[in-house]
Structures are given as structure tokens and as C-alpha cells.
């Protein structure tokens, strides 16, 4: 009986230790924005409003993607004081792909690979101070990459 109690205690401690960082991550991760199926709701979740179109955001992505599971995307912002770059795919089941936040000498340029369910615009929104800037690129997708 004592041994069983001890085991129970060990399990409880382990479970607590595992749960704590998970809760901390859950508190930071923007659930509302990431679980929105609509682009405008996802933007609202990130408190984005009144974004203006900018030619100082460069998006390099293929015009046509054979397989939507892997679409390579390069984004560069030449907007001064860029703090964050948010990536959206308008027609994905959930529109927000990721939010990239820069500090201490990190340059506002990233390369990553994303999933696309169907032909859609990739919409980029850059945060600089209190202002938001946007640019889009359409990618034709031949095979659904969202599973």
C-alpha cells in the first residue's frame, strides 16, 4: 500500500512537471488567431487593423506549387522598425500560418516552408510600431497539402 502511494506521488509530481511548461506555452500561443478559419478573424486575433499596401515587402514564392504540402516562402521587409511579420494563407482551413517577431539585431527576413490547401493568396502583414503594412502573392496549388 505504501509503495502504491509512493508511486502515485511520483506520477503526480511527474504529471505536474510536464503540465507546467505546457500551460506556459498555452498562455503565450495566440489560440484565437491560430484557430480562426477566416482571414479577417485571424487578423483581429493579432490586433491588426487598417493595414496599408506596401511595395517594401518582398515575397518570393513559386507561381505554381505541384504539392501544397511544401511551398517555400521567402519574405523580406524593408519597412523601417519592422517588429513582426505575420503570414496568412487566405484559403487554408486556418488562415494564420505563423507570426515572426524580431529583436536585438534579428533582420526582418525569413525563409520557411508552408502548407497550402488550394490555390490562394499568401498574405503578409508587417507590424512597424503602431502601423501595419501588407503585400500578397498568389500561388496556384495543384495538390492539396493540408491533409
Amino acid at each position: 500500500m505504501q509503495r502504491r502511494n509512493f508511486l502515485g506521488l511520483i506520477i503526480a509530481i511527474t504529471a505536474t512537471a510536464l503540465l507546467l511548461p505546457l500551460r506556459a506555452v498555452a498562455a503565450v500561443w495566440n489560440k484565437a488567431a491560430f484557430e480562426s478559419s477566416k482571414l479577417d478573424e485571424a487578423e483581429k486575433g493579432l490586433a491588426i487593423n487598417g493595414e496599408t499596401t506596401s511595395k517594401d515587402i518582398e515575397i518570393i514564392a513559386p507561381d505554381r506549387a505541384e504539392n501544397g504540402a511544401i511551398v517555400q516562402l521567402e519574405i523580406t521587409s524593408r519597412i523601417p522598425n519592422t517588429e513582426a511579420i505575420a503570414v496568412f494563407v487566405e484559403k487554408n482551413p486556418t488562415a494564420l500560418i505563423g507570426n515572426f517577431m524580431f529583436s536585438n539585431g534579428a533582420l526582418p527576413q525569413i525563409v520557411t516552408r508552408i502548407k497550402m490547401a488550394e490555390t490562394s493568396d499568401i498574405k503578409i502583414i508587417v507590424k512597424a510600431g503602431d502601423r501595419y503594412f501588407t503585400a500578397s502573392k498568389n500561388v496556384v496549388v495543384l495538390e492539396n497539402g493540408c491533409g
Binding site: L18, L19, P21, L22, V25, V28, W29, N30, F34, A69, I70, V71, Q72, V87, V89, N92, P93, T94, L96, I97, G98, N99, F100, M101, F102, S103, N104, G105, A106, L107, Q109, I110, V111, T112, R113, I114, K115, G145, C146, G147
Partner: protein, 101 residues
Amino acid sequence: MKMRAKLKGDVTEVKVIISHPMETGRKKDDFGALIPAHFIQLVTTTLNDKPLLEMQWGTGISKNPYLTFYLKGAKVGDTISVTWHDNLGATATQDVAVIQG
């Protein structure tokens, strides 16, 4: 994780590949059962323990995530560190030293 950090001029290019399924929670297995969502939510990067690029990801980042980012102010031998956390509580950290590109 596979990582490389190369100094070219005054800019350091950091390439990262993480092994992770990045399951959306919408895919079905061979028996028609839904595969539960399993994806990285947070990624933090540091230069000598100072925060650099911080990311929140959803299920739309491809399987085995690939990332290149760039920074100024690093020297050869400096330490770049990358940490990720997923929705099931798993986490991993890896360091790499900056080399001359």
C-alpha cells in the same frame, strides 16, 4: 534539430531543420481515424542568451520545419540557440557556434 550559423560580411545566416510531424488534426490514418493535432507552437532563438527571433506557429508550417533567419552583431564563436515547444508539451533546445562563411 540540424543547425548551421555562418557569418558573411556583417550578417549571420542561420539555417534550422527540426524533425517534427506537424500534424494538423484533420488528416485520417489508414483506418479512417483522425490523427490528433501535433505541431510546434513556439520557437525562440537567442544570440549569447539574448532573445533574437521569436515565433508562434500554427499547423500550416510544413512537416519537418525549415527556417532560415538572419542577424547582425554576431561574431565567430558566438552561440546561437534554438528552442521549440509543441502542443503536447514536448520541447527541445540546441546550440550552434557561429562559423566564418
